[in-house]
């Protein structure tokens, strides 16, 4: 049985103004009760520890008025567009057109990305933002292996990012090893932790898996905070060496790359180098994922996502399948972490909270799980959109949370809601992702 929550019956649609006003009035009344104490009254602890309060009835009144007006607008839109609303906003022809565009969008986007440092060479801010977006693209592609392909819901992905970042930071600051030695080590260590997480959760499914991965992420973060001797605790690790161009430092010295090439030194060189480094890492993730999908192990992941019982009946070793998914995803998370550490030069546990895990998961789901292009577009949208609200620091997460809710209501299947099959007989038919079981663990 399907219950349509937005079922607008004929009577209510023709009910007109009295119905509109009644709905808006009820909504405003609910808002008044909800916000009465939280918005209407502001508390603050004084200098002597005594709580004081003052009233903000103006704010309360404007919020309630906004809810009143907003519900009239929403109700009008619902009557105008129709009960299903969202789907009509994007007609079917446009949706099928999007898949056509999708074929050319990916190469176009890649060429544009390659040219970003050339076009925006003087704009440090844009380059920094592009590096940030690419970091999240890589994280999204890494998590996509675990969630999108293998269907294992991982809420603690940021733990592997943290393991990679701390592995590089500690190896580089304590032993002075170079970035290029530490990068694979960070990946291997993160993969090892991924397997370690994999073992206990092998028997768990769905939501149990989600909560254990969440707990695991928190455990790693708490250990980092409390193991002060090793990790520096809440103060983090600073003085992490910058990456070198295969041994040649990117600085102003006589040994620097600029001096050796005989060009004038500019700090932008390092940023451009970092840009191409993360682009290469992200493309490596993408390439490996696409290749693995065609191999037996990748097919086993997708089969596992669809039906675990059938997998076992067909003789697929679910233990190794799950472990490899966790390890592969974690390894890419570790690479991204090492890159993060060398870019920032400073890391602390604050960068590895649950919020980050949720952000990466949101990117994967919003992009349309399993869709590489979708994840990249989602990372661009989310991180770019997040950046727009930089000046409104306090409202940023509020808006982000609301956006997450609204996007899920509007497009629960993500931007790219269809996919082309990994293996096909004669001709590849794109299938709707409604037919794909994802995240059942």
């Amino acid at each position: 049985m399907t219950v349509n929550p937005h079922k607008t019956t004929k009577t209510s649609r023709t009910a007109g103004i009295p119905f509109l006003l009644k709905t808006a009035f009820i909504n405003a009344l609910i808002a008044l009760v909800l916000f009465s104490l939280m918005i209407g009254i502001r508390t603050e602890a004084g200098s002597d520890g005594q709580l004081t309060y003052w009233t903000r009835f103006g704010d309360l009144a404007s919020l309630v008025a906004a809810v009143f007006g907003g519900s009239i607008v929403i109700e009008l839109m619902r009557q105008w567009i129709g009960p299903t609303g969202a789907e009509k906003l994007v007609p079917a022809s446009v949706q099928s057109g999007m898949s056509f565009v999708g074929r050319y969008l990916a190469p176009a986007l890649l060429i544009f990305t390659l040219l970003v440092p050339v076009i925006f060479y003087d704009q440090r801010y844009i380059l920094d933002l592009a590096i940030l977006v690419l970091t999240y693209v890589m994280l999204g592609w890494g998590l996509n292996v675990v969630v999108g392909l293998a269907g294992l819901l991982d809420l603690g992905y940021v733990a592997f990012y943290a393991v990679g970042a701390y592995s590089y930071a500690l190896l580089a600051t304590n032993f002075g090893w170079s970035f290029w030695v530490c990068l694979p080590l960070a990946g291997i260590l993160a993969a090892f932790w991924g397997m370690l997480l994999g073992f206990p959760v092998l028997r768990l499914r769905g939501d149990y898996l989600a909560i254990v991965t969440l707990a695991f992420g928190e455990i790693i973060r708490l250990v980092i905070i409390n193991w002060q001797d090793l990790t520096g605790g809440p103060n983090g690790v600073s003085g992490i060496p910058r990456p070198s161009f295969f041994g040649i430092p990117l600085d102003n010295s006589d040994d620097g790359l600029a001096a050796k090439l005989g060009i004038e030194y500019s700090p932008t060189h390092r940023i451009v180098f970092l840009f191409y480094l993360i682009l290469a890492l992200a493309l490596l993730t993408n390439w490996v994922t696409i290749r693995l999908r065609r191999l037996p192990i990748g097919r086993a992941w997708e089969a596992l996502r669809e039906d675990e019982v059938a997998c076992r009946a067909l003789g697929i070793n679910t233990t190794t399948t799950k472990l490899t998914a966790f390890a592969t995803g974690a390894m890419f998370g570790g690479f991204a972490g090492a890159f993060f550490a060398t870019r920032q030069g400073f890391i602390s546990p604050e960068s590895f909270t649950f919020q980050e895990s949720a952000l990466v998961l949101a990117i994967v789901v919003l992009g349309g799980m399993g869709s590489q292009l979708g994840v990249a577009l989602a990372a661009l949208t989310m991180i770019g959109g997040f950046e727009l609200f930089r000046s409104l620091e306090t409202y940023r997460m509020l808006v982000f949370g609301m956006a997450m809710v609204l996007i899920m209501i509007w497009r629960p299947r993500g931007i790219i809601g269809h996919r082309s099959p990994t293996v096909y007989l004669t001709k590849a038919h794109a299938i709707s992702s409604d037919l794909v079981k994802e995240g059942h663990g």
Binding site: L34, I41, L214, M404, I409, K437
Partner: protein, 305 residues
């Protein structure tokens, strides 16, 4: 021994608070089959509303503590329940028949909204209140001077929990609503065919869960004397851990799991290290799930082919 007894009391009190929050999780999971990530934040909102109501009542000049407590209890339960209802309507109901990850992400988004809403509305600083319920009993005094204390607030937390549990058990096992809830838990489609209003039952589940979380918020406020905007996240994970530990979907399991987490955390802090108490709680969750994947009192999940 005395030290042990004292920690046992502290652990049971903390466990009662976790248990109250865990019931909300377990009910929603049992009926709708989703993890309500925002539930911890509803607990936090309940704490804030209780704090503000206290403040208003005191500045109005009320002095009778039982009256104040009763009014605060009713106000915070009512408003928080409305929060639970609204959240279900806005963020979860449209997604009820969507694929599994969608409601979970929507719930995570809602959790961010509530945390930051509270930060924007009430500021990021910790809000303390003066102790209302003071005094207590000395149960035992050992020769070396260690005293086992049972404070009045501890007694109140435990008694409130027991009373609420009794009311709640009666509600689920004896009333029409409880029967509807159990029917929806079994099979929503069949329940709807037999005349159960599924939408209303699910709404009521959220309302009751939020009201219980509000009581937990009030108890937390009275016990620790403070609230802050971030407390929902940690308490939420702990309570969810408790629900999973007890076997998600099982009401006695949620209470048992809450007590277990409370005791583990208290004893770990007392005998090992305070810093790693959360690590201990989460590690035990993982260990229990390895050996008992459905929790302590959970029913084994039937794998459908």
């Amino acid at each position: 021994m005395d030290y042990f007894a004292q920690q046992l009391i502290n652990g049971l009190v903390l466990g009662s608070i976790y248990g109250l929050i865990a019931i909300g999780y377990t009910m929603v999971y049992g009926i709708v089959g989703m993890i309500n990530f925002a539930h911890g934040d509803i607990f936090m909102i309940g704490g804030f509303i209780a704090l503000i109501t206290f403040l208003i009542l005191i500045s109005l000049g009320l002095t009778a503590i039982p009256v104040i407590l009763l009014v605060v209890l009713l106000v915070s339960m009512a408003i928080t329940a409305l929060y639970g209802w609204t959240i279900e309507r806005i963020a979860y109901r449209p997604l009820r028949h969507s694929f599994r990850l969608a409601p979970m992400l929507s719930a995570i988004g809602m959790s961010f909204v509530l945390t930051n809403y509270s930060q924007v509305a009430q500021g990021a600083r910790v809000k303390p209140i003066p102790p209302f319920i003071v005094g207590g009993y000395t149960l035992h005094e050992s020769p070396d001077g260690f005293v086992i204390q049972l404070s009045n607030i501890q007694i109140m937390v435990v008694i409130t929990t027991i009373v609420l549990l009794a009311i709640f058990t009666w509600l689920v096992s004896r009333t029409r609503l409880g029967r509807d809830m159990r029917a929806c838990e079994q099979d929503q489609t069949m329940a709807a065919l037999l005349g159960v209003n599924v939408d209303r039952t699910i709404s009521m589940t959220f309302v009751i869960g939020a009201a219980l979380a509000a009581v937990a918020g009030l108890m937390y406020l009275l016990y620790y004397g403070l609230v802050d905007f971030y407390m929902g996240f940690v308490a939420g994970i702990k309570a969810f851990t408790a629900a999973v530990l007890g076997g998600i979907g099982s009401l006695p399991g949620a209470m048992l799991g809450g007590l277990a987490i409370g005791l583990i955390e208290t004893f770990w802090s007392a005998y090992f290290s305070v810093e790693y108490k959360d690590v201990a709680a989460f590690s035990i969750l993982i260990v229990v799930l390895i050996f008992m994947p459905t929790g302590l009192l959970g029913r084994p999940e039937v794998e459908k082919v």
